[in-house]
């Protein structure tokens, strides 16, 4: 599934059959090279993020949860920083200081949250090559010449 395909996703509580939020964006952990939380908007109730592990499923049209108790805010500065970042459109730099391009999209496994690849205007990069994500850039390992 692609990040850009999730922009209109509803968040639905399967215990009440009600829409409880919409997906605002996907929170990436560069160390795990995975989506680790969903940032929320139009929340019925409180909370701005739901951790990946608290999702029931991430489907092609909606994200499902069992209740909204797991909705919360970022717990500390580290989480706040990660939640505030949007990987789409960010500059991609290799760890050797070379610009690859900008992120157009991210391909991820909706079952596990693992990022399989980052699609940039300068080529596709395997998720396993992700080193870091900050406000300025996504840093990836320089590909080895074969």
């Amino acid at each position: 599934m692609r990040f850009t395909e999730t922009k209109k996703h509803k968040v639905v509580d399967v215990t009440t059959a009600e829409q409880v939020a919409q997906v605002d964006g996907l929170v990436v952990d560069p160390d795990q090279q995975a989506v680790v939380a969903v940032r929320l908007r139009k929340v019925k109730g409180t909370g701005t993020v739901v951790p990946w592990s608290d999702l029931k499923s991430f489907g092609p049209d909606a994200v499902t949860v069992e209740g909204t108790a797991s909705f919360r805010d970022a717990a500390d500065e580290h989480e706040r920083r990660a939640v505030g970042l949007d990987i789409l459109g960010v500059l991609v730099l290799t760890d050797q200081g070379r610009a690859v391009g900008r992120v157009d999209d991210v391909d991820f496994d909706p079952g596990t949250g693992m990022i399989s690849s980052v699609i940039t205007d300068g080529g596709e990069i395997p998720g396993a090559n992700i080193l870091g994500l900050g406000a300025h850039a996504l840093v990836v390992t320089e590909p080895r010449e074969s």
Binding site: L93, D95, G97, R98, A99, G132, L133, G134, A137, V139
Partner: protein
């Protein structure tokens, strides 16, 4: 393998951590001419907070120096400015505008830039200069001259062995080979 770069092109380059944060940008390249290498960089902040940064970047804090960014492990890779400036020498100032003078007394031209090998120790391997009429049909062109590990340099003159004139290159891409060939010739000569 050498990765050669003009020192002047490093100025203004963004400094980015491996975590993807913008640390600042390169303000000045700090040289130790006696050691023939770059010992570090002073920094400016970026964006609307731009202005000199108190901390500087020592060469051993650099993870990689690439065409689009200088990469550092993290903000802790920086050091107090005095640490970096302290590794410079009295001759650390600019050689721009100095004359390239062979030890046989020929004035080959005027220095316009230092050429640094950024792969490993940031050695200055040569200089870009504008050729004088000592180089005949190449007069007025921007050329590259290799230098040995140690050489005498002041703000006025750069003294090169007469043999260096045989290895003057036309372009940066091929200059790595000129440097290797020159150094091979020097070790034969000894």
């Amino acid at each position: 393998m050498r990765l050669l770069m003009r020192a002047s092109t490093i100025v203004g380059r963004p400094v980015v951590s491996l975590g993807g944060d913008l640390i600042g940008e390169i303000k000045d390249v700090v040289f130790n001419r006696g050691e023939g290498r770059v010992v570090g960089f002073t920094l400016n902040n970026s964006g609307f907070l731009s202005g000199p940064r108190k901390e500087s970047l020592p060469w051993d804090g650099v993870h990689a120096l690439g065409p689009d960014a200088v990469m550092v492990r993290h903000e802790q890779s920086l050091a107090p400015q005095n640490d970096v400036l302290g590794r410079s020498d009295a001759r650390g100032g600019s050689v721009l505008g100095a004359r390239v003078l062979t030890d046989a007394g020929a004035d080959l031209g005027e220095v316009t830039d230092a050429i640094v090998d950024v792969e490993d120790r940031a050695d200055v391997v040569g200089y870009e200069f504008v050729a004088s009429d000592a180089l005949a049909e190449r007069k007025g062109r921007a050329l590259f001259i290799p230098i040995p590990d140690t050489l005498a340099v002041s703000g006025e003159n750069l003294i090169v062995p007469a043999a260096a004139a045989d290895f003057v290159g036309d372009d940066l891409a091929g200059f790595g080979a000129d440097v290797e060939n020159f150094r091979a010739r020097l070790s034969e000569g000894r």
